[in-house]
């Protein structure tokens, strides 16, 4: 299937060559640069097929990388940079969707799936146990009951 991904990269972006961050973009302050790289990995190159701006070499991705670094140099916090980009490009730019009403199910689904599985297993186990208890002890026939009574009586008299 991955070759289909390649096809898209090729068709949509027109290039999957070279690499993203170019040396002239790199900030002098290593701490800021590290933050820029971390932010870039969470930002989508919007003209690409699911690539972050850190990975893409599309012109738009380069613009966004420069923008991120500009904001960081200007003293923005990480959250402010993200807010700024979302304000400008919409939530589509975030590779990690924000936790909000419209993404509630998205974020809740994995833990819910696990929880549902646990509850399901518990229910099945409990039901099977009770089923087995009833099934494994069929009522005694009159004959069997009489023999059991006789045995028990003999036990008591001993």
């Amino acid at each position: 299937m991955r070759f289909m991904l390649m096809l898209w990269l090729a068709l949509v972006v027109g290039a999957a060559s070279a690499f993203a961050v170019t040396p002239d973009e790199v900030l002098d302050d290593p701490a800021l640069e590290t933050r820029a790289r971390a932010l870039s990995a969470n930002l989508r190159c919007m003209v690409c097929q699911n690539e972050s701006i850190d990975e893409s070499n599309a012109p738009l991705a380069k613009d966004l990388r420069l923008l991120v670094r500009e904001r960081l140099v200007a003293g923005d916090t990480d959250a402010q940079v993200l807010d700024y980009l979302v304000g400008r490009y919409g939530e589509f730019v975030l590779l990690k969707p924000r936790f909000a009403a419209h993404t509630l199910f998205l974020w809740a689904a994995p833990p819910l799936a696990l929880l549902a599985g646990i509850v399901g297993i518990a229910i099945v186990l409990r039901r099977r146990k009770s089923e087995l208890n009833t099934v494994s002890a069929p009522p005694l026939s009159a004959d069997e009951q009489a023999r059991l009574d006789a045995l028990l009586k003999r036990d008591k008299t001993d």
């Binding site: 027109g14 097929q49 699911n50 419209h102 994995p110 646990i118």
Partner: protein
Amino acid sequence: MIVELGHYALVLAFALTLIQSVVPVWGAVRENERLMAVAPPVSIAMFFLVLLSFTALTIAYLNSDFSVQNVWENSHSAKPLVYKITGVWGNHEGSLLLWALILVFFGALVGYFGTNLPAPLRAATLGVQGWVTAGFLLFMLSTSNPFNRIPNPPAEGNDLNPLLQDIGLAIHPPLLYVGYVGFSITFSFAVAALILGRIDAAWARWVRPWTLLAWCFLTLGISMGSYWAYYELGWGGWWFWDPVENASFMPWLAGTALLHSAIVMEKRDALKVWTILLAIFTFSLSLLGTFLVRSGVLTSVHAFATDPARGVFILVLLCLFIGGSLSLFAWRAPLLKQGGLFAPISREGALVFNNLFLTAACAAVLVGTLYPLALDAVTGEKISVGPPFFNLTFGPLMIPLLMAVPYGPILAWKRGDLLAASQRLYAAFGLSILLTLFTFWLWGMEKVLAPLGVGLAVWVMAGAVAEIVTRVKLTEVGLARGFARLKGLPGSAWGTATAHFGIGVTALGIVASSAFQEEKVLTMAPGDTVNVSGYAVTFDGAAPRQGPNYIEDVGHFTVRQAGVVIAELDPSKRLYPARQMPTTEAGIHTLILSQIYVSLGEPRDTGAIDVRIYYKPLITLIWIGTLFMALGAVFSMADRRLRVGAPKPAARRKAVPQAAPAE
């Protein structure tokens, strides 16, 4: 002429699938021997017809017959021979034909070798397989015919997408398809069992080799694709959580769960309903993947609407198969009798635990893949769900699973003893703690999670070794007898241990390469040297070079360690003139398990060039681990009991009446 023959064979094969879909199934329900007997020969005839069709298309590619639209769109007369062949499946129509070929090949295998199956099960399975084949052949003939001609054939073709002109492409799609299609057999078995309303431990034994085979190939296919992207995309990433990748990863997760639940069903006659459901899910996810990839819905939900024929067709097919099989399941599953009680702490319990987490992980991937599409379709809001989401949701689900892996094979069936099992694992646990501390000592406290990840991976690996060691009681009976007993272990035991070991190996590769990699992004002039993790990488210069159907700029790099040359690397940037498309070829040097990875960027006017250099510690373990997993599947398939088969033919049972008085 040969092209028309291929086309004709395909139509004929479709006609046969219609017979296959009805006659044997009816025969199986009515227990009519003669109707059931139709299935095996028809399945073999279908295989030869599709093979003929595939051969015809291949010949058209070899002859560069540009009057065939598919060849014209995807080939070029100057293309190297190997890519002329692999180009056959390097496009939508051709890959569908390959898919269909593998589908009927598997059907023919069941038809030819399935003589130890009960006749109704075999007939119904082949019938269901016929439904799947009919759907795909009809899809091809009506919307994606590879044999369409062009009225005025052009003199030269459009060439294959350069990204696909790589040996990786030759291997990757066929591996994936064998995986997907293998799960179609499991699906057919499950649906056949539902139709017949009968399922027992023997069923699991027949299905198991197919599941193992499919899983083995899917594992290799995904791994191969990952390595291919790693060296072809040029920035050192090997997994993107792209929807297209998820499309193949979801069946893998479900298939892994299926592999484990089938064990419980075979050994303990429990989890029947769940195993059937998983078999249906696994193939449904394969179909869903096909839909996602083929319909264009991923690029945009609206692209789906502009060229609807293919998308709608697969969507209908998807609904028919998934909806139909699930309805059948809801209707017939209550007929299946459950057996085999077990305590929560037991081998069965561990396998249920495995299924729980794998299924939840699969659900996480599924929701993450489909949610943006659904949201866009419903509200028009556009969001992206990328790697950070999957790392946050999928990752945590894997941790308890990995922690539990060593316990699974050591716990006893029915009722296990957690304390006794832990005692058998104390060496593995100690080793894991030791290596965690060692990693802390090596890297300090700056990366807290990485040493824990290393510890977890070592725990899984050592646990797999411990399983084998304790199984043969190596420490008690001494080395000589222990080794003798190693030989006597069943294939499935080796399979489990090897595959689990592989999981640990892959995990170690992932943790080490992502946490401890070093990256340098810089502009280098000829003669410049840069130091990456103790290796001095010198850029010697770049020169143009002419390839068979491309031109490239090749950079020459020398890698030295302590002044000694250890490698020369030639990363390049290629341009394929037929499509005016550039690609990068990374220069990679493997140092036992780690790699130095050099990728070229844009050249500067001064003769300097942008370069990205990585040192990726232990990265090859990611793919070596998958080889272990696949090898584990092979060991399990070689297990004697799968070849002997559960059902003994009547004659054989009579031949050895006194041999088994204990029964």
